[in-house]
């Protein structure tokens, strides 16, 4: 391969990386190798050599096509496949006062120790206050505390059998131990189905009316991601955004910051029905929601058609093990689910809980871990705020 081609490919790969494709050096090597096999003569060879080696998802292919056209002036003679990718995955911006773990001026180093002692009682005071009414410092305190919660999901039996002191006889291991003892059945080995935690899926509404609460919920979701790596987090507003990857970072502040690239629908309206449909089409039905515990954080102010929301909730309820709806307004006395969206969704919700305070978050963590029989039919949505 000539140096000119190498340089061209490396330049192209850089541009691709800038467009958001994860181009590792090994991938660039693979592209050069592929070009060697196909011959760098035609633009089409270049197109395909790059596409199969540099891309790793349909979203990548879409970006690849765009950058390819820009870089080489045109697309190959006949772009052979149109890739249609649903408009997902824009990252989320958090409001500026997100209290990214930053200390207020008050607690400088000397005060740290005293702060720590004071924390416990302060948390008591803050526990039941609505997070939207807190001062910046208090808010940061609550945020820190939410990040230490350990949300877990109930477990389920897996297909896989594991050694266990009781249970049915494990013929294979019993025979193996017999082999060791010259064929004498010395002891019977037993096994049982293993257990695994169910997947937790968060759908957090980031529309205007939810703005004061969405961040707390995202912190909670981040805590869940840390405890259970299979957890999936999406935000909904006027578009669906998957933030699982961003929230995978360990440090809460870094994770929330990573999830904060500008987004159009921050503080916009909510088209919950459409977003839910997109989630189910793109992720849920394929496996993400199957048997999972789904937590929807929203106040149910639906701008779209409540009938669509109801239909999608029905779909979700047939896939998910349990649906927990976190509505910040649920925390207030005399609350009744009066918004159109909430009323439409309620028949499919297993639990409707509050999400307005630290105490409510703690309750939510406890509720998620609790083992409950699968819901079936009847009136649901017991309240436990």
């Amino acid at each position: 391969m000539s140096i000119a081609v190498d340089a061209e490919v490396v330049g192209f790969a850089r541009r691709l990386a800038a467009a958001g494709v994860d181009v590792a050096p090994t991938r660039v090597h693979a592209m050069l190798e592929a070009l060697d096999v196909l011959g760098a003569g035609s633009l089409r060879s270049v197109y395909w050599a790059g596409r199969v080696t540099l891309c790793a998802s349909p979203e990548d292919v879409e970006r690849y096509d765009r950058v390819f056209a820009a870089h080489f002036g045109r697309r190959p003679d006949r772009p052979p496949q149109r890739v249609t990718v649903p408009p997902v995955t824009r990252m989320i911006a958090l409001p500026d006062d997100s209290g990214d773990g930053a200390r207020d001026g008050a607690d400088d180093d000397r005060d740290q120790e005293r702060q720590r002692i004071a924390t416990a009682s302060r948390v008591e005071v803050l526990r039941h206050r609505d997070v939207s009414t807190l001062s910046r410092a208090d808010r940061a305190e609550v945020d820190r505390y939410v990040s230490t919660l350990l949300p877990a999901a109930p477990d389920r039996a897996t297909r896989r059998l594991r050694p266990s002191p009781s249970g049915p006889v494990d013929a294979r291991r019993t025979v193996r131990s017999m082999l060791r003892h010259g064929g004498e059945p010395v002891d019977l080995r037993r096994h049982r189905h293993g257990r695994r935690q169910r997947r937790l899926v968060f759908l957090v509404d980031v529309s205007g009316s939810m703005a004061p609460y969405a961040e707390t919920l995202l912190r909670f979701a981040h805590a869940a991601c840390r405890v259970r790596p299979g957890t999936e987090v999406f935000t909904v507003g006027t578009r669906l955004t998957r933030v699982t990857r961003e929230l995978r970072r360990r440090d809460p502040a870094a994770a929330l910051a990573a999830a904060s690239v500008a987004i159009d629908d921050w503080s916009g309206g909510t088209r919950l029905g459409d977003e839910l449909k997109e989630f189910l089409d793109r992720w849920g039905q394929r496996g993400t929601a199957r048997g999972a515990v789904v937590v929807i954080g929203s106040d149910g102010w639906e701008r779209g058609d409540p009938a669509l929301l109801a239909a999608q909730m029905a779909r979700l309820s047939r896939l998910a093990r349990r649906i927990v709806w976190v509505n910040p307004h649920r925390g207030y006395q005399g609350y009744s689910p009066s918004t159109g969206g909430m009323r439409a969704a309620l028949p499919y919700v297993d639990r409707l809980v509050a999400g307005h305070s630290l105490g409510a978050m703690e309750e939510l963590a406890g509720l998620l871990a609790g083992r409950e029989p699968a819901r079936r039919g009847g009136a649901r949505a017991r309240s436990d705020a």
Binding site: R44, V52, C55, P58, R159, M178, L179, R286, T288
Partner: protein, 295 residues
């Protein structure tokens, strides 16, 4: 028996051979498969259900005249099901027989017990031991992510070490096709080892061609009608848009009823072959006339 290198010298030639094996590959897929053969890398195929990921592996096996070895992934699949397992009952029988015959040499007996003939080869080991072969790792997205790391290890150097027996190394690495329905993201490390190809739903022309390739006796009219209707269904925002496999099923169903073209009545009666959700069927039932209509 075809050598991998002599299977095709250009992507176009490979497409021709796949065609002869009953599989219509477009330029992108043929190029991806060609590169996979030439570069000795696994081909990672991702796409909706029913777009022909698994059948590509079958067709490749046909082209190479090599056996297809399939590892169907599922949650909890582990080494004993993917690699190898010892046949304990047979080992035990052997032990008893040796005892009855009065064999007392313990070392020899142990050596005999862990002989290759007591080893049950599962798909991955079988693929390494069979040359040439096509290994299909189907629906990798259903396996646990720990399994991916393990698979990556095998696919990186095509060796498997068995403590009691030693290392098994593939003379010629098998041709590997990994498929995923994208129910979850597969780790980048595994994808990086592979050549990636996203298989989209086919265009109208290709769909007609595939239908006629599979069912040569079908009238051109019917193939056209069904392909057009299926394209409309895919654009209708259904819960489960039909794939190529469903189009072929549908044409088969229509042919069984003696149809030579699609009418609203026939479409309504055979919708079950192409739509698999009650909600979808209900919705489309109201619009079958448009569905069967010609432009």
């Amino acid at each position: 028996m075809a050598d991998i290198d002599s299977a095709a010298t250009t992507p176009g030639e490979l497409a021709g051979r796949l065609d002869a094996a009953g599989y219509l590959a477009d330029e992108g897929l043929a190029t991806a498969a060609f590169l996979a053969l030439r570069m000795g890398r696994p081909l990672f195929l991702e796409g909706e259900a029913g777009v022909g990921k698994t059948s590509l592996a079958q067709a490749l096996a046909g082209v190479l005249d090599a056996p297809l070895i399939r590892l169907q992934c599922y949650e909890g699949v582990d080494a004993a099901q993917a690699l190898y397992d010892w046949d304990f009952p047979r080992q035990l029988l052997h032990l008893r027989a040796a005892e009855a015959a009065g064999v007392t040499d313990v070392d020899r007996l142990e050596h005999e017990l862990y002989d290759r003939r007591f080893l049950l080869a599962r798909p991955l080991l079988r693929a390494l031991e069979t040359t040439p072969s096509v290994l299909l790792v189907d629906e990798i997205d259903r396996a646990d992510d720990e399994f991916e790391a393990f698979l990556l290890e095998v696919l990186s150097d095509f060796t498997i070490s068995i403590p009691e027996l030693g290392t098994v190394r593939a003379e010629t690495p098998p041709v590997v096709v990994v498929t995923s329905n994208r129910t979850r993201e597969v780790h980048d490390a595994l994808k990086r080892r592979c050549l990636y190809h996203w298989l989209a739903h086919p265009t109208f022309e290709r769909e007609v061609a595939v239908i006629r390739r599979h069912l040569p006796d079908v009238s051109a009219r019917l193939a056209d009608d069904v392909a057009r209707a299926v394209q409309r269904l895919r654009a209708a925002g259904l819960l489960k848009p039909p794939g190529l496999a469903e189009s072929i099923d549908w044409v088969t169903a229509l042919t069984a009823l003696g149809a030579t073209e699609l009418s609203a009545d026939l479409a309504a009666r055979t919708l079950g072959a192409v739509l698999k959700y009650q909600e979808d069927t209900e919705r489309i039932m109201g619009e079958v006339a448009e569905l069967a209509g010609r432009p």
